[in-house]
Amino acid sequence: MKHTITAAQASLLNCHSCDLLCNAPTADNHLLATCPRCGATLHTRKPNSIARTWALVITAYILYIPANLLPVMTVTSVGKVQSDTIISGVIYLLLSGMWPLAMLVFFASVVVPLAKLFILSYLLFSVQRKSRWRPRDRTRLYRITEAVGRWSMVDIYVVTILVALVKLGALATIEAGSGAVFFAAVVVVTMFAAMAFDPRLIWDRLEDQP
């Protein structure tokens, strides 16, 4: 790909909102540059992408700990009180013989958020180390991460629906636990992290060559 050129090299950039190709802002009008068609602020690359993504990823790692240690819901049934964390909920489903459901919840609540955090950390490392290794696959990895993250919200919705349905006073009541708050925060923060990362940084390293 020797005879190719990126928009940045041509002093152009595309508006992230309406895709219009615009002239890149120069240093002096940097803050004023907005898209002439849709009015969005123009950036050659997402501003401070690496630092912002790292900040959000690290936040999510920290939030992930209480999200898994604290109960996501508490079931009170005829005097018995039982608290469930995400993992104990999965184990309960497994023991009741509902293994397809257990797999689904395990995948959405454990595999997806962790994989997302690991992938984003790896992408950030690879960009910072100026890696040239398989940029196309790394871009694909980013695309998958961005698309799949929202499905982790499943557990939050399950808690919401159970709380609404099971309120029979002394017979059976379900309450949301503080683990759910932390888990929801993990999902939201990782979604923002994926949005903050700019996949074009993966490709910029390839054009640095002499």
Binding site: A40, A180, V181
Partner: protein, 226 residues
């Protein structure tokens, strides 16, 4: 022409922009930069239903959509009706030992709020009810005047925000949550699905179809910004 699959067309070598190309003569409107790897490529006309992919990273650059305005408008109108039904009628009923609880879509939000989980309540309210509602209304606001050959006030701003809201509409994830909860409770109680549940399920498909039918470039091209 090398077709990657039936419905997608990869950009060709000749569509790449070489450093020697005179950009001023070429006109920037004929060019497109990949939003994922920033490679400049020339736009090519596409056959029906085809999509152009970036040669370098494989991201979808744009897609040809026929009758985008009419189809999106029809689906959005259907979506509004389904949304009203989904939010007013009973959603799920829970029967256990003679006791019965009937819920609507918003009950869960109210109960979370009463349990002092207002953060969760707001998140669920936003992702399952408010954002889809705003999306539907904003689409109507944009598409109805365009259909009547008018430009709505602040079109660019409304359409731009609509684009940013997309990831926060999670009705299909909510539906999966319903499925999981119902299976979980099925052993200990009877769950009766209500009218709202069915319209909610259909609404998910209608909204997905509307999003697929909408061609953002069709809207942006209406804006005469010069």
């Amino acid at each position: 022409m090398a077709f990657k699959s039936k419905a997608s067309k990869s950009m060709q070598k000749k569509d790449l922009v070489s450093p020697s190309t005179n950009l001023a003569n070429n006109g920037a409107s004929q060019l497109i930069a990949c939003h994922e790897c920033d490679l400049l490529q020339q736009k090519v006309p596409l056959p029906n239903g085809a999509a152009a992919q970036c040669v370098r990273c494989g991201a979808e650059l744009y897609r040809h959509k026929t009758n985008s305005l009419d189809r999106t408008l029809a689906l959005t109108l259907a979506g509004v009706i389904l949304f009203i039904v989904a939010n007013t009628f009973p959603f799920l009923s829970f029967q256990m030992r003679g006791n019965e609880t009937t819920t609507t879509l918003i009950s869960g939000v109210k109960d979370l709020y009463q349990q002092d989980m207002w953060g969760l309540a707001i998140l669920v309210l936003l992702t399952s009810i408010l954002v889809p509602l705003i999306q539907l209304l904003a689409l109507l606001y944009v598409l109805v005047p365009l259909k009547l050959n008018r430009i709505p006030w602040q079109l660019a701003r409304v359409f731009r925000y609509l684009h940013h809201l997309q990831p926060w509409s999670m009705m299909e994830v909510f539906m999966l949550g319903i499925l999981v909860s119902v299976v979980k409770l099925a052993g200990m109680a009877t769950i009766v699905p209500g009218v709202a549940l069915w319209s909610f399920a259909v609404l998910i498909f209608v909204l997905a179809a509307a999003a697929a039918a909408l061609d953002p470039h069709m809207v942006w091209d209406r804006l005469d910004y010069q």
